[in-house]
């Protein structure tokens, strides 16, 4: 049993290394078979995860396989780094070259804008994500979803939504638009919760 397990693991490692090697080969060349090699690489990597699933429980086996793929990729990177020449840095001034000072009034509004963007990224995005997930839980519960599945979805959804709102707050250059998106993202679900609570639904 132990030797079979070891054989499966070695096979999984070899297939992962082959997959990473195929992707590395594809990244170096742009031949007619480029797409085929990329596809073969990803098929090999996926196959290695499937092989690893047989070494333990499916969840733990796949996780071990993912670690093997990452280590194979890091090994490939190390090989690439060692094979190339070391570059020298450009010599740059360490002190700031004098730049024109910003007008005082622009600095004040810029500062205020930055504080507002920080608030949007942090607590505002967090509260909006929390409201969205609480409302999402209520909606899925009303639709009859099983409790633990529902809780799992919103547990994963909360940090992902917060990340998404934080990204929007930094990505969008229009202050009003991103404020509206994030506030709307929080107020709409709060309204839903208030409405369902008032009508006695969702309990």
């Amino acid at each position: 049993m132990a030797s079979t397990d070891l054989l499966i693991r070695i096979t999984g490692i070899c297939v992962a290394v082959c997959g990473v090697y195929a992707l590395q080969t594809a990244s170096r060349s742009r031949s007619d078979r480029h797409s085929l090699i990329v596809a073969a690489g990803w098929v090999a990597i996926t196959s290695s995860l499937v092989i690893w699933a047989f070494t333990s429980g499916a969840d733990k086996g796949v996780a071990l396989g993912a670690i093997a793929v990452i280590i194979a990729a890091m090994g490939a990177l190390l090989r690439v780094a060692r094979s190339g020449p070391a570059r020298k840095a450009k010599s740059l001034p360490k002190k700031a070259v004098s730049a024109p000072p910003e007008p005082a009034s622009l600095t004040f509004w810029t500062g205020l804008r930055r504080i507002w963007v920080a608030a949007l990224i942090g607590p505002v995005a967090g509260l909006a994500a929390l409201a969205a997930c609480a409302a999402g839980f209520a909606a899925l519960r009303s639709a009859g979803m099983e409790h633990t599945a529902n809780l799992t979805i919103v547990s994963f959804g909360f940090p992902i939504m917060w990340a998404l709102f934080a990204f929007i707050a930094g990505f969008d250059r229009r202050l009003l638009r991103k404020t509206a998106i994030i506030f709307g993202g929080g107020l709409a679900p709060l309204s839903y919760l208030a409405l369902t609570s008032a009508t006695g639904g969702g309990a």
Binding site: H34, K60, A89, K95, V97, G170
Partner: protein, 495 residues
């Protein structure tokens, strides 16, 4: 030559994604870095606990009767009745039996005799830093969970800001300057993304669970937070007033050994001991799964009541039951822990290099910020220096608790401030590396003085040689084997 199969990235999208990436990194990079570094070290918290108290009795297993005897002894020692009584069973990376109540913890030997209190002040300081940033628990967990969410945002924005992500997948130019630094940052970010995304997500889930639970309870269950989590982790039986003799402890443990021999017990939990409503759970380990274990429930007489379902219940229970182990890397033995060490240090390099790229770009554009750049290096190298300083204080000076916390945060402020004033990033790095090497070395000296008889015991290894190696490597001492004297029979060309 064929064209790429991937759609061209919009320049506007790339620029705005990079802006979002920079904003979040500049605002929160320091705290994220502290979390990443402490988390990486925390993977080995069991090894560090053993190292801090190398004289505790160790064993591979403990008999049910002996464990019960130890638990009963500690229960009788309690002045104020405890609500929970725990037995922490020996595990491969922490082969010790510890009896814990709400306020105390004691080691037990293999005969069930209590040998002394369990105390690991520096490791506890490190765990509290990673879990709560030393803030009050619920606030700290929420802040740390939020940082996990921001790390997800950094990953997301980083991917979108990377227009040649597939073409450059294996481009890695080493050396000095912005290009090699960018290659290091981008390549490590992409290829270790399964790790840092899963760790950021699971860390955020764990940290934000309280806040989410409160919100759902308020919205759907009239504020009853138990109703939110009990379908996952099991219900408590209805409360019953009155005293009772202590519940059976040996019987459930013996039952587990006979009925589930492939599920070794990691914890025994006795709820409300000595009361009419007492009941117990045994957490059995499932070695072939990512879950932390399964709760096997017993009544006060030791009769088996069934399991909660973390291992074989709903998909939701099994997924939520896996979050803890996936985050802390304690699901696959030493091999997985070492992988987490490599990936965790890679993430620390990603965070550190990210801001270095920002400062290098500023210099290239003629907007150098030497004080901020030096301050960032003060954070990058100051964090391990502050950790090493607290380690030395704990070992040599017996300092613990709030004093270690103050020492760390005041140290961080002073180191970052001093670096900012000095304004030379290269010399800040050199100086802090030497200070770190010295602190690790003197910590080892202090440890060797205190535990000279146990310096080479299984509890002291492997932490001692790792710290010694780190100290030598950081000091910059190079061993020149080519300058060793010639062997007697070798002749020089002149002979």
């Amino acid at each position: 030559m064929t064209s790429s199969i991937w759609p061209k990235a919009s320049a506007t999208r790339v620029a705005q994604s990079l802006e979002a990436h920079s904003i979040i990194a500049l605002a929160l990079g320091g705290l994220v870095y502290i979390l990443v570094l402490t988390g990486t070290i925390c993977v080995f918290n069991h090894e560090l606990q053993r190292w801090e108290q190398p004289d505790a009795p160790e064993m591979a297993t403990i008999a049910p009767d002996a464990a019960a005897r130890a638990a009963e002894t500690v229960f009788r020692m309690e002045e104020t009745p405890t609500i929970h009584l725990y037995i922490n069973f020996p595990q491969p990376d922490l082969p010790r039996t510890v009896i814990t109540t709400d306020t105390q913890a004691f080691f037990a030997d293999s005969n069930g005799q209590i040998t002394g209190p369990e105390t690991f002040p520096w490791t506890q300081f490190l765990l509290d830093l990673h879990y709560y940033l030393h803030l009050p628990p619920v606030l700290g967990l929420t802040v740390v969970g939020a940082l996990g969410a921001f790390l997800i945002a950094l990953s997301f924005s980083g991917f979108l800001a990377h227009p040649r992500i597939f073409r450059d997948a294996f481009t890695f130019r080493r050396g000095e300057g912005r290009v090699p630094l960018t290659d290091l940052h981008n390549r490590l970010s992409v290829w270790t993304s399964p790790f840092h995304l899963s760790n950021a997500l699971t860390g955020a889930i764990l940290g934000l669970a309280s806040v989410l639970g409160f919100a759902i309870a308020a919205a759907q269950f009239d504020g009853d937070i138990g109703a939110v989590f009990s379908p996952v982790f099991g219900d408590d039986p209805p409360a019953v007033e009155g005293d009772a003799p202590l519940a059976e402890i040996a019987a459930p443990l013996a039952y587990m050994r006979e009925t589930f021999p492939e599920r070794p017990a990691t914890y025994f939990i006795l709820h409300e001991p000595g009361t009419a409503g007492q009941h117990s759970s045994v957490i059995g380990k499932h070695d072939d799964r990512l879950i932390f274990g399964e709760y096997y429930q017993f009544d006060a007489d030791g009769a088996y009541q069934g399991n909660v379902g973390i291992s074989d219940g709903t998909i939701g229970q099994q997924i939520i039951g896996s979050v803890y182990n996936v985050h802390f890397g304690n699901w696959g033995g030493v091999g997985v822990k070492l992988a987490y060490l490599v990936f965790g240090l890679s993430l620390a390099v990603i965070v550190a290099s990210g801001l270095r790229i920002y400062f290098t770009r500023r210099r290239e554009k003629g907007r150098a910020a030497p004080r901020l750049e030096a301050a960032w290096e003060g954070v990058v190298w100051g964090t391990p220096v502050a950790l090493a300083a607290t380690l030395f204080a704990a070992i040599a000076g017996g300092i613990e608790g709030a004093a270690l916390v103050r020492m760390f945060w005041i140290g961080m402020i002073l180191l970052t401030g001093a670096a900012c004033v000095h304004a030379d990033a290269s010399s800040v790095i050199r100086s802090l590396k030497l200070v770190l090497a010295a602190l690790l070395f003197f910590s080892l000296i202090a440890y060797a003085v205190q535990h000279r008889d146990l310096l080479f015991s299984p509890a002291s290894l492997p932490v001692t040689p790792v710290l010694l190696f780190a100290s030598v490597a950081l000091s910059g001492i190079r061993f020149r084997f080519d300058r060793l004297p010639l062997k007697p029979f070798e002749r020089t060309p002149a002979e």
